[in-house]
């Protein structure tokens, strides 16, 4: 066996789970509180999924936006090593900036999609509570041309009734993967469910021939989200207290 002891570079395939989080001023109070708690708590669950999986490693990348946008860390980080930095609110809703930064990092050169991370399509989870305050349409169009984006699993949550659901549906590509929540409890439950499901589906490998349905993972994902939404107990109206 000696010969093969020197073989280097073995690594599991990696899936990257992106959280894109609105931290504009309107998210203050229980909205951002729910987000902070829910994401911090779901990360160890995601790591467990990766460990159980045998064929995937899951990395996490967090992008926040308000006046401008920034990544929480300069690279996607293994779920087991990820340290959540509590998010504070400020500013407006420059979602166009977020789209632009996401587009930059959904790439091999200079992006988060390195070789190992290229094996699985990423999963992208967008959460916002308001209307965009910058010119976002061009950035979204550019993003939609990005091949990684096209292949990724997408979901979005409209936090409260003031959120721009049409824009979120434009982002995910269909209305089914956009959910609305009205309370912190519902928001927390949804964040957990979407993160866990995206990680499970996204890290499954099964070679599918090109003739067949390429969209199976997204439609499977949508179906699960819709089913979950039916069971979610939530108020009809915004109640963020």
């Amino acid at each position: 066996m000696g010969k093969y002891d020197k073989v280097e570079g073995i690594s599991k395939r990696t899936m990257v789970l992106f959280f894109i989080i609105d931290k504009s001023y309107s998210m203050s109070g229980s909205k951002i509180g729910a987000v902070n708690v829910a994401v911090r708590e779901v990360i160890p669950e995601i790591q467990k999924i990766a460990e159980d999986s045998a064929d995937a490693n899951i990395k996490i990348a967090v992008l926040t936006f308000s006046s401008g946008a920034q990544w929480m860390y300069q690279s996607a980080i293994d779920a087991k090593d990820f340290q959540w930095n509590g998010i504070n609110v400020d500013g407006t809703t420059d979602i166009g900036q977020a789209f632009k930064l996401l587009n930059e990092k959904l790439a091999r050169n200079g992006g988060f999609m390195t070789d190992a991370a290229g094996s699985y399509a990423p999963a992208i989870f967008l959460m916002s509570d308001g209307q965009p305050t910058d010119e976002y349409k061009k950035a979204l169009a550019d993003l939609k041309n990005n091949n990684w984006f096209k292949a990724s699993l997408k979901a979005a949550v409209a936090i409260g009734d003031d959120a721009d659901k049409d824009m979120l549906a434009e982002f995910t590509g269909n209305l089914e993967s956009v959910l609305i929540v009205h309370t912190p409890e519902a928001l927390k439950k949804l964040i957990r469910f979407v993160s866990v499901t995206a990680s499970k589906i996204g890290s499954k490998s099964s070679n599918a021939p090109i003739d067949g349905e390429v969209q199976t993972k997204q439609s499977d994902f949508n179906q699960q989200i819709v089913d979950f939404n039916d069971t979610l107990i939530d108020s009809q109206y915004d109640d963020w207290n």
């Binding site: 093969y4 094996s119 399509a121 090109i210």
Partner: protein, 343 residues
């Protein structure tokens, strides 16, 4: 670089070309109780060597893809052996030659798959496991249930070529010791989408290459191997290590070492089935690897000392040229081959 066959005192020749193939079930397949869907094979003669690996698709609809990959391997080796008989026509455009070979393989695979299905029609049990849509799809298009990728490559002492449909890799070791992949890439192949022998437009999804210069060794592997390495350089280094191992150790030992390593590779890496098939020019490879590594071992002696004497007898063409040597995941060969120590 002249490629001279080895000679012993008795004046008999060792084969120019040596090869091996191995498929190991993926660690994730073991966990989910799925069969190994990879298959591999190789063939050597004095004139050329053929290597093949095939990867059956996961997914509900492709419930006989393990059979499909086995059929693909056998079909490819048979077709290429027929193809090589036309060597004097190889001055034609290589593009047309390979395209015709690919068509021939698609046809033969279709026929073999349909014949299998004729002898063993889909059972109720198999069809009940599928959704209504998938069940209908498969009954109209039985090839889909057997779908598989295919990579095949041939090495001679003047040229080499490779054909590929679907994911997987083909590595070529040249006389300067450099390893590279000459198969044109298909940008559609990412995120587990692959092209396949069961594609309706399969003939358009094949890619290929032809090198008119002597090469030293070739390796083909299914995507489970490459996906276990974080970049291509590590994968090529791994290929080099395999060639070195086969050069330095007797065939049986080299194979066992590789098999053990592949089990570790799938567990620590992709989790997928892993298959490798290699072919090398037994004289040339020694020179090349020695010159890079500065390896002072006289591997000629090792080989001569460790392989039993009867193998030196000149084999009749039919004996070497016959059935391909196949390997399943238990390491059992399906053909008795006097050249290999099956124990």
């Amino acid at each position: 670089m002249e490629l001279i066959p080895l000679k012993t005192n008795g004046g008999v020749k060792l084969k120019y070309f040596k090869g091996d193939n191995i498929s190991v079930i993926g660690s994730s397949h073991i966990k989910t109780n799925t069969v190994c869907q990879d298959y591999s094979g190789h063939f050597c003669s004095n004139e050329y060597g053929i290597i093949v690996v095939c990867d059956g698709h996961g997914g509900e609809k492709h419930f006989r893809s393990d059979e499909g990959s086995k059929i693909a391997t056998n079909v490819a080796i048979e077709a290429i052996n027929e193809f090589m008989k036309f060597e004097k026509n190889f001055s034609r455009k290589k593009e047309s030659l390979l395209l015709q070979l690919e068509k021939n393989i698609i046809l033969n695979w279709n026929n073999a798959v349909n014949q299998h299905n004729g002898n063993f029609p889909f059972t109720e049990e198999e069809l009940n496991k599928l959704s209504d849509n998938n069940s209908k799809a498969v009954e109209n298009d039985i090839e889909v249930a057997y779908g598989s990728t295919l990579i095949a490559a041939v090495l001679t002492n003047k040229y080499c070529f490779g054909i590929q449909i679907g994911d997987g890799d083909c590595a070529v070791l040249d006389k300067n010791g450099v390893i590279s992949n000459h198969v044109p890439s298909d940008t559609r192949l990412q995120f587990n989408i692959t092209t396949s022998l069961c594609d309706k437009a399969a003939v358009q999804n094949f890619r290929h290459f032809w090198l008119d210069e002597p090469q030293v060794a070739l390796a083909v592997s299914t995507d489970g191997v490459r996906n276990s390495f974080s970049n291509e350089t590590y994968y090529f280094d791994f290929c080099k290590t395999i060639f070195e191992s086969y050069l330095e150790l007797p065939a049986e030992e080299a194979k066992n070492d590789l098999k053990e390593f592949l089990q570790r590779l799938t567990t620590d890496g992709s989790g997928d089935d892993v298959s490798i098939s290699i072919i090398y020019n037994s004289q040339a490879i020694e020179d090349v690897l020695k010159s890079i590594e500065g390896n002072a071992t006289n591997s000629n002696d090792n080989e001569l000392n460790k392989i039993p004497i009867e193998l030196y007898k000149e084999n009749k063409p039919e004996q070497c040229g016959d059935a391909a040597i196949m390997e399943d995941e238990n390491g059992k060969s399906n053909v008795d081959d006097p050249e290999r120590n099956n124990g």
